[in-house]
């Protein structure tokens, strides 16, 4: 299954890109993070502290345990600082 993966703020900077298409067999968001971590050091660095990472599935905030289902877009970012 193919998903669009987006990165924002310092996650984008550490990984070095803002979006990519990823071929994955992950069941949950957490599984996808594991796959990405295993790829390259920059991913492992970006996802080193998952307490500092938030996730949205098709533009809805979700916990990491959430099933990917047939989501088309997964986004990772630090805690938000709007306002």
């Amino acid at each position: 299954m193919k998903v669009r993966v987006l990165y924002f703020a310092w996650l984008r900077e550490r990984i070095g890109l803002g979006r990519e298409e990823v071929e994955t067999s992950a069941e949950t968001v957490a599984d996808l993070v594991e796959e990405l971590r295993a790829r390259e050091e920059r991913y492992a660095a970006a996802f080193a502290d998952m307490g500092a990472v938030r996730c949205a599935l098709d533009q809805e905030l979700v916990p990491l345990e959430t099933s990917l289902g047939d989501a088309r877009e997964v986004a990772f970012f630090p805690p938000m600082t709007g306002g």
Partner: protein, 164 residues
């Protein structure tokens, strides 16, 4: 098992603006004042604050596909909790300087308590639930603004009790 009665759909259509441009607070407040039954309008404006005295620039990144949806969800939630005749959220992104306006929320209601509570609620949710990230450039370099634990904790007060 009895079904809870559905809450009435809010009458109000929130005004959501995500923009690089500055906004006109007076004009936004005037929009909220429209309607013969609006007695109270509350606005909150957030501004780039130069905490250290060395801030050169602030850049706000956001998640274009999600931002407006998230803001609308927060505004609709407020309109379900309080009897509002108007709700506005304006949030800027891009490069800002110290003193620049960052965002505003505005609420209109018959009574002041609802307008105040709803504006405060909007701010609390917007701080932790809308996909914006601030980066600051000072003489010492660039850095992402860290989320404050107090901002996340602020949401608890809206969970613990019913709105009224």
């Amino acid at each position: 098992m009895s079904n809870p009665s559905p809450s009435p759909a809010p009458q109000v259509s929130p005004r959501i603006v995500v923009t690089e441009a500055d906004f006109d607070l007076g004009a936004e407040a005037a929009r909220l004042e429209a309607g013969s039954d609006t007695g109270a309008v509350v606005t909150f404006t957030g501004r780039v604050r130069d905490v250290s005295g060395g801030l050169r620039r602030m850049t706000i990144e956001h998640y274009p596909g999600m931002t407006e949806k998230a803001l609308r969800t927060i505004a609709e939630e407020a309109a379900e909790r309080w009897p509002l005749s108007g709700v506005t959220i304006v949030h800027r992104h891009g490069a800002l300087s110290p003193g620049d306006r960052i965002m505003m929320v505005g609420t209109a209601s018959r009574h002041r308590d609802a307008a105040f509570a709803a504006a405060s609620f909007l701010m609390d949710y917007l701080k932790s639930r809308a996909p914006f990230w601030k980066k600051e450039e000072t003489a010492d370099g660039m850095g992402w603004v860290a989320a404050r634990e107090a901002d996340e904790a602020a949401l608890d007060r809206w969970r613990d009790r019913d709105a009224d």
